[in-house]
């Protein structure tokens, strides 16, 4: 049901984001899923070599807000975005919401 709402918001996105997850390094702590309000991230049904259920992304919903990457303890997530305007300062951390 929440899926609905999220899908709706997708349409309004001004920038498109994509996340890339290094699944072998992911420890499946799920903190990123908590941070992502767009519902991009979910736990896979598979486990990686370390034995953790890693995270997979539905990049269609991604706004590139970097919240997930910020909270990922193991620096597993890279985030990409379609350029809007170049912002020079503090590129990696985004703006506080």
């Amino acid at each position: 049901m929440e899926q609905q709402t999220i899908a709706a918001s997708v349409k309004e996105r001004k920038v498109k984001g994509k996340v890339e997850i290094n699944i072998q390094k992911c420890k499946g702590c799920e903190l990123c899923t908590l941070a992502c309000k767009e519902g991009v991230l979910s736990v896979s049904n598979h486990i990686n070599l370390k034995g953790y259920r890693y995270i997979v992304a539905n990049n269609d919903l991604c706004t590139g807000c970097v919240n997930c990457a910020l909270v990922c303890p193991d620096a597993v997530i890279s985030v990409y975005r379609t350029p809007l305007k170049k912002k020079s300062a503090d590129k990696s951390i985004g703006k506080e919401e």
Partner: protein, 278 residues
């Protein structure tokens, strides 16, 4: 999740399925100063998160060559395996003394310690307070997760009232164990303390603010006006016996009550003038 539960999932070796094409630009990436190995920290442990922040700052400020870290005993004792900077592993509790030894000889380098609460607040409180009282121009990064992580969850001086640990099985009893020590509040009044703040990385904004605080602290170190202490509310899924997400809840509902986030001591404007000029 225990391995038993995990085992109903096949172990697979899947190729990364997120391939990025144009016209995307990178907005977040692991800093190059964070060595590309698995960190031994438990899933969801904030130690790894703070490591990442520190290495981001060092990369962004381009001070890898100017920075020396000190990590004493505690879960972060292996920090030198992850941080691509010169580091010293210190005896339990003595990071502030070791950092003093380094900084007095290398006054123009950035020197920071990275300490847990058992380390800094219990066995190392003397070295901590005296380094701050002398106003050593170092940054103390203080990860307060309210337990002894590495040794498997004993009570720390910061353990919350009533909190169960392996050495306070009936919960911390203030009549016997005393109240949790608030280190930041304790040391802030010392004239040698230049900047004291408490942050938490419980959500993305918390991470942003924590990073800002750490950035400030690195910048302030150039002023040579005293010690910066950045306390970060930590977690310990393994010893709190919670999932990382449960930990986040505990941090927000319990930890932050006893250890409220916010700036505890800010530099005076006049002190910061020099920094802006530089």
């Amino acid at each position: 999740m225990t391995i038993e539960e995990r085992s109903n999932i096949d172990i697979i070796q899947e190729k990364d399925n997120n391939i990025i094409g144009e016209p995307y630009e990178t907005v977040y990436q692991k800093p190059g100063t964070l060595i590309d190995v698995d960190m031994h920290y438990c899933p969801g442990c904030y130690h790894s998160l703070v490591h990442k922040l520190l290495m981001e700052i060092i990369e962004e400020m381009d001070i890898q060559e100017q920075t020396i870290g000190v990590a004493p005993v505690g879960c972060s004792v292996f920090a030198y395996d992850y941080m691509d900077i010169d580091m010293q592993q210190a005896a339990h509790g003595r990071a502030a003394a070791v950092a003093t030894g380094i900084k007095r000889l290398l006054p123009d380098k950035y020197v920071f310690t990275y300490q847990g609460d058992g380390d800094l607040a219990a066995i190392g409180i003397a070295e901590t307070i005296h380094a701050i009282n002398r106003g050593e121009n170092i940054l103390i990064v203080f990860i307060n997760n309210a337990v002894y992580g590495m040794t498997s969850g004993q009570m720390a001086p910061t353990t919350l009232t009533g909190m169960q640990t392996t050495t306070s099985p009936a919960g911390r009893d203030t009549n016997i164990h005393g109240h949790p020590i608030k280190i930041s509040e304790l040391v802030a009044p010392l004239p040698g303390a230049f900047y004291v703040t408490r942050q938490a990385v419980n959500n993305a904004n918390g991470v942003r603010r924590t990073k800002k605080a750490l950035q400030n602290a690195f910048n302030y170190q150039r002023l040579k006006k005293g010690t910066c202490l950045v306390e970060i509310v930590g977690n310990c899924p393994s010893n709190w016996k919670m999932t990382p997400i449960e930990c986040t809840g505990f941090v927000e509902e319990q930890m932050m009550k006893t250890f409220p986030v916010g700036d505890i001591k800010l530099p005076k404007a006049e002190d910061l003038k020099n920094l802006k000029e530089a």
